[in-house]
């Protein structure tokens, strides 16, 4: 375990907490909107997760570097400008290097700006912490968000399209159109299913971690 010793320290905690008890989607219930929109297939969900991670990590870093100079009266505007800058850069990179995926994600890359996780981490963490921990916090939250996105996309793609990462999993001969019995579940493709799956994940998580249950 010595290889992962950095995960046991304070920095490690910052990185790991968003995967479990501090997960941005299932515990803080932030960033739900994009979790509904881009989780029909795994590949776009993966690229989206990566993009959000880059944006949270670097916005956190930049804001943390600037934190002593930012006038508190316009701090939200400053955060917004930094986030927008990062999002546009990511969007331009996607268009240049993974054109087909960027087409699938279309407007949702631009909408990362409105992802509550990013502003949430800037306000709650980066403004009060040093650059390196802020960067790690951003990475952790991005990955924590991505984890849920990919889990949701896995079930939606498997049950809704019968594929994983675009490769067919269900044998073609089982399908009703080839005289089999199987039909893809069309409901899985529609956004409400994402809510149901996220709901199930939250249920599962809270039934195992009693400390997350809000008694009030």
């Amino acid at each position: 375990m010595s290889k992962f010793s950095f995960l046991s320290g304070k920095i490690g905690k910052l990185f790991l907490a968003p995967f479990g008890d501090d997960n941005p989607i299932t515990v803080k219930v932030l960033g739900i909107c994009s979790a509904l929109a881009v989780t029909v297939k795994i590949k776009p969900a993966f690229v989206m997760a990566l993009s959000v991670t880059v944006v949270t990590a670097f916005s956190n870093l930049i804001i943390s570097l600037l934190r002593n100079g930012i006038p508190s009266r316009i701090r939200i505007i400053v955060q917004l400008v930094v986030v927008a800058l990062m999002v546009i850069i990511v969007d331009q990179f996607l268009k240049a290097f993974v054109y087909d995926v960027s087409k699938q994600l279309s407007v949702f890359v631009g909408l990362i700006i409105t992802n509550c996780i990013i502003m949430g981490r800037l306000e709650a963490f980066a403004l009060a912490n040093k650059p390196f921990p802020s960067f790690i916090d951003g990475l952790g939250n991005g990955f924590g968000y991505g984890l849920i996105l990919i889990v949701v996309a896995f079930f939606r793609e498997l049950l809704g399209s019968g594929t994983i990462w675009g490769y067919s999993i269900i044998p073609a001969s089982l399908y009703a159109k080839n005289n089999g019995f199987y039909v893809n579940n069309g409901l899985m493709i529609l956004p409400p299913t994402a809510l149901i799956i996220i709901g199930l994940i939250i249920w599962w998580q809270r039934s195992r971690r009693k400390n997350l249950i809000d008694i009030s």
């Binding site: 029909v40 006038p71 331009q92 268009k95 240049a96 290097f97 054109y99 279309s106 407007v107 809704g160």
Partner: protein
């Protein structure tokens, strides 16, 4: 507490720095993005004559298969010109008599000529476009490709799947009397043996209607050219 002066200067500097950064990033990445768009267009044109190509070889394949590029007028006259560089969207805004629409003539490995018509129309959320190719009888569909900007995934966006596009193959655009009827996307499914109809997408009605409109408008423009060409072919 910072003074107003500080806040103003801070904002101005911030905006300028961000603007410069973005301009640099966009300038650096622009050639890559334009190359992507060009390659995609080439691949789309090739797909419409049922030739799949990857990014690397598409350029060469295009040169190999596409023999002629023409600009067609509504009255059926035409001239040679770079059809590839025509912006269909702008051309469609012009008055119908002033339009010069692009046409690609391809020759497949079996030596047969195919006529590729580019398409541009409206879906539910944004633009839809595509390419449809015809056999040298200028009636039977050889292949089709559709794409879209922002149709709903799983619903309207299904027009970009091969399953939807392959339905168009071997459909006919003229009826027995030689009248132009186009190919229709039929809600609830086309009857078996319908040579002018294909199945619409369930849940994608507005996109399907968009495809109908697009085919009728765009292909309709070439009808005069097709008729003249058919006549000359018959006389030869």
């Amino acid at each position: 507490m910072h003074s107003n002066r500080y806040i103003f200067i801070y904002s101005v500097v911030m905006v300028v720095v961000v603007a410069i950064t973005l301009s640099i990033v966009v300038l650096i990445l622009k050639p890559f993005q334009e190359a992507n768009i060009r390659t995609e267009k080439i691949q789309n044109i090739l797909t419409s004559i049922n030739i799949q190509s990857n990014k690397k070889e598409s350029q060469d394949m295009y040169k190999k298969y596409i023999k002629e590029e023409l600009l067609i007028k509504n009255d059926g006259t035409y001239r040679q010109g770079s059809a590839f560089d025509v912006k269909l969207k702008d051309e469609l805004k012009k008055d119908i008599s002033k339009r010069e629409m692009p046409l690609f003539i391809a020759e497949t490995d079996d030596g047969k000529r195919h006529y590729i018509v580019p398409l541009w129309g409206r879906g539910l959320w944004g633009a839809i476009w595509g390419y449809i190719s015809f056999n040298d009888d200028l009636n039977t569909v050889f292949g089709a490709l559709f794409d879209h900007k922002s149709e709903t995934p799983g619903l309207g966006a299904e027009i970009s799947t091969r399953a939807f596009q392959e339905q168009f193959i071997n459909k006919k655009i003229f009826d027995d009397n030689g009248n132009f009827v186009s190919v229709h996307v039929i809600k609830g499914g086309a009857p078996k043996g319908d040579i002018h109809g294909v199945d619409a997408i369930s849940g994608g009605t507005i996109t399907s209607n968009g495809v109908n409109m697009m085919l009728k408008e765009n292909v309709g423009f070439y009808v005069n050219y097709f008729k003249t060409l058919k006549n000359t072919n018959n006389h030869e």
